[in-house]
Each structure stands twice: as C-alpha cells, then as structure tokens.
Symmetry: C2
Subunit: 322 residues, 2 copies
C-alpha cells in the first residue's frame, strides 16, 4: 500500500507470504468460500500504552493480539492484518521494536500483513490496526436467551493487577511467596493472548448464543451484552465463581499497597484488558473450556449473588475520555 | 466496534444502514459473490492536512475520498468504510465537522461505515481509514506490456497548484481573468474525487493492463509502475500531452509568485494529490475517458519527449519523511 522502505522491512519480518500482498493501492482478498469479519483499533502512546510499563515489543504484540481478540469474539478466525504507524523520526528505533513484537504475534496466530501505512507524527506514536478474519458462524453480542448460562473462558482481573504492580513499581521479590502471581499478572498485562483455540472448540461443540471479549472489564461487557439484547433479560452473576487462588492473592497484595479492601472482587469485576471471552450458551460446558459464572434471568437487572447477599453490579469499565 | 456516543453520532450521520453494522467487536461482511479489496490510510494533522488551508469538512471529505481512490485504482467498487479518530477533547467541535465531511463523501459514493474507533490524543488529530471494495476484476500495478499506451484519466497538477495558492494566500481576485483557474485548483486540492465512474467505463470497455492512482505525483507513480513490472519495459511520455490551458495558466501564476520558469511542467509531472488514475492499455481509448500521454517501450528508462528534446523524468513525488 505504500512504497517506503520502513514498511518493506515490516513485510520482510512477516515473511514472503505477506510480501505478495504489498505493492498495489489496495490489498486483494479472494473470499468466495467464507464471509469476513473486520475490526479496527487505534492505539495512542500515553493513552493506551506507556513505554515505561511495557517494552516496545510487548506493545506491538498486544496491539495485534487485542485486534485478533475482537475477531475471535465474533466467531472468526483471524487471517489478515493491515497496520498503520505514525511516529516522529526520532522514535524510529522504538517503532522497529514495536514492529518486531507485532510480527511475533501475527506469526504466532498465522495472520498475514496485507497492507499498511507509515507516516510521520510530531511527538506521540499512533498505531492503527485493521484485522480481517474468516467465519462461517458469525456470533453477535445480542443473541442470549432466558435460561442461558453465562460463561467466561478464564478468570479476569490479572491484567489490571499487573498494571497496578507496574505503576507501583512492585517487583516479584517484594512479596515472598507471591512471586509467581505477580509475574503472571504483569505478563497478562503486557502480552494478553486472543483465545482463538478455545473459541473454535466452543463453536465446534456447543451452541453459543452471544459472545463478546472482555476488553474494558467484565462489568462493562456484561452491560454491553445486556444492552445489545435490548435489555430483554437480566444477568445474574455468582460472585464466588469469579475467584481463584491467584486472583485472591493478587487482591491481597493490592489491598496492602493501596490500603483498601476487596480488591480481588474489584479486579475480577472491573479490571480491564484481560481479553477473555464472555459468552452465553444453553449448554453445560466443561470447566477446562470455560467457567460458568451466572445465568440469563427474566429480571431485567445485572446483579451478583455473593457472601454479602445480592448486589447490583456497577458498570465501571475503563473509558478513555468520554 | 465501540460504545461511545461520539461514534454513534457518526453512525447516525451515515444513516440507518450503517448502524446495523455497529455493536459487535468486528463488522460482518457477507461476501460469497465477490472478492474484496482493502486499503488503509493514516492521516495526521499538520503532516497530511492543515486546518489553515482547508475547512474541517473538506479534510473529512478528502480523507474518505483518497481511500476510495485506492480501491478504484485496483479495479474495485468501494463499499465499506471503517474510520478511527484520535483527538484531544478540546478539538471535539472540529472533529464533528470532519465527520460531517467524511459522511458527505461516504454518502456520495454509497459507502457504508461498518466500524471504527474513537479515542483521545494529546494534541494532534489522527484519522485512520480502512476502505473495503468489491471486485471481480483486480487490476495490479504490474501488468503493463511493451507497446501498451499510457493514459491518465485527467490532467494533473491542479491540486499542487491549489496548495501553493493556499500557502501563498492568493485569492482569485488577485489575478483578474484567472479567477476560475485559481478556484478550480483550490477546489481540487480540498476536495479531490475518486474516479469511480471512469474506472468502471474503462474496465467495461477496454483491456486495462495496469493501474495506479496519482497520489504523490505523476512522476513517482510512473516509477511505481516501472518498478512493479520489475523494470521489464520503459515508459516514454509525450510532454505536450500533459498540458491544457488551465494548467498552463496555473503554471504562469506560480512562475510569477515564485519567480520561477516552467512551473506548469513541474505541476503536471510532480504535483501530488490529484488522485487521477494512471493506467496502461493496448487499446485506443477515446479522449473523454482518458488522455493518452505515452507508450510502454523496450528501452528500460522513464523519459519524456518535449519541446527541448528527450529528457529523463526525475522521480520527485512527495514523501513525508523518508
């Protein structure tokens, strides 16, 4: 899509199969056998990522990964990527590392870079990603029915805990016995993975009535499911299903740092950037594929049942400026 | 693709057909009957556009238009758009006007907005556009053959002249008798149009062996054609075919302002952002569809034949920082 040597170096990183797509004004996709899904994300330095919390390679990896997650959350297999970068020339060395990380994620999930754009900016780095996937089973957010079970593909809150550990400059050695928990949280923040394999197994074996990925936090994604379905049904969440020993430990560390209580519940409900899949199904799905966390109910509310009784779940997902 | 009210207001501008695509993590395209073309562009304030030279509505219009031109240049009919914006909150009023212009162009060419992303930036506005088109006749840059004729769909240089008039604060009234030329140049700079209709007629009636749009300047696009075809053949351009009375007049005005000579030739050969189509064909094509400007020759060079004899054409297209 453009002629500059920099983007050619990205194509080289992504291998000869990518190269064959470059060189024309638009990329050609032969698609007579499958329908397509397209997602688009714009990531801004110091808004969505911060070079003091993540290595440039991690930022590139995550930028691709979260787009693949969007395709996955609609029942698609990610296949193609278009990546645009804007950056000041003095940050070229950082951009090359970001590209290396982006290429690593693209390789891992067998996505081809088919186009892009590279241009200047005055100070911050901007990353614009378009991901394209194939599907023969488009899953919307809006299909849940009364009585469906509510699932997440894995526990939530690790990424948000990782971000707090990075912001507070917590090192694993600072909390003896908790090293692995801290490392896991930081890794999940820096390198979240799209849950493509689990999505494929779920679609192949079970009826999935609605699906969304957890980017801003479980609570806000529950609200998205609810609103997408025109608030026809409510969502009841079992609080106890949200905890595992690791998230309980992470919560305890954050209680200590922040002098708070119940951080584990806050992390699990409102912590963003986990990129787990949240979905509904009328089927009972085994634990190794997904965790059952609640039920679609006729009462038109979103609430939890927990140790302190029944509570409305607030919508506290992260929101950049609105 | 995201939940914010701002992007919802864009969807409203683009009508109810666009709205049905929003609300999921990715947009769904049913495409069993046609192959797709995808283009991607990143536009940065004060790099690609400047609010002192164009109204925000013009910037939005042009941002969409140039992406539709990329699809057109590959033989595609533009159908869908994904638009991402990053901007500081204090520029919200400007962004709304940019969106109005973008919507106007999308409407005019019957493109649906199927996704996007809206986020914050610290100072500059960033616009990221992905355009998707359908095609059953993908035309590459690389298909020209010896003996093919070289065409452009219309004269080049107007947009570059318009930019100079804006930069130099020239008003039409400053050059009596030249008002219309100045207005045309400024309009072409602010609101270039994708040549979709001409492309369709050309494809329907003639054999088109290669095609590209003229974004950076005729000279650099000639080099792109040459390089895409692995420099198998050279390109001979007839200088006189590049001039019409209007571009000659624009050149005279610029000669006067800049105290130069031969501005008309420079504009025609190296002036960017015209978004005309440059293509090759073995067929003789009537003048109302395209201007014949040269021939694909066996001599492996890019040169012009003109009043001062034979000259190498330099590659002087615009390049943001490389």
């Amino acid at each position: 899509m453009n002629e500059f040597s920099f983007i050619n170096s990205i194509y080289r990183k992504l291998g000869p199969d990518s190269k064959k797509f470059s060189g024309d004004d638009a990329a050609f996709i032969k698609c007579r056998s499958n329908d397509l899904l397209v997602s688009k994300d714009l990531l801004v330095e110091n808004i969505h990522f911060n070079l003091s919390y993540s290595a440039p390679e991690d930022i590139g990896y995550k930028a691709v990964s979260v787009n693949l997650s969007d395709i996955t959350a609609c029942g698609g297999n990610p296949r193609y990527l278009l990546i645009g970068f804007a950056f000041p020339q003095k940050k070229m060395h950082i951009m090359k590392k970001i590209c290396t990380g982006a290429a690593e994620c693209a390789h891992r999930y067998k996505c081809l870079l088919i186009g892009g754009d590279t241009t200047a900016s005055r100070s911050d780095i901007f990353i614009s990603i378009t991901a394209i996937g194939q599907t023969d089973n488009f899953i919307k957010r809006s299909g849940s029915n009364k009585g469906d079970l509510i699932y997440i593909t894995d526990y939530t809150g690790f990424s948000a805990a990782g971000l707090i550990f990075l912001q507070e400059k917590i090192r694993p050695a600072d909390f003896p016995g908790m090293e692995q928990v801290i490392k896991t949280c930081i890794h999940n923040h820096r390198r979240p993975e799209p849950e493509i394999k689990k999505m494929r197994k779920l679609i192949a074996g079970y009826r999935i009535s609605s699906m969304i990925d957890i980017s801003d936090g479980l609570s806000s994604e529950l609200y998205h499911l609810y609103e997408s379905n025109k608030k026809k049904y409510g969502l009841q969440i079992n609080e106890s299903a949200l905890f595992c020993p690791a998230i309980t430990s992470a919560g305890k560390i954050i209680d200590k740092i922040k002098k708070k209580r119940n951080s584990a519940l806050e992390l699990a409900l409102h912590g963003g950037e986990d990129y787990r899949l949240l979905f509904t199904s009328p089927d009972l799905i085994p634990r190794h594929l997904a965790l059952k966390i609640g039920t679609v109910v006729s009462e038109k509310k979103i609430f939890s049942i927990g140790s302190s009784g029944r509570k409305k779940i607030e919508c506290l997902g992260y929101n950049h400026f609105f």
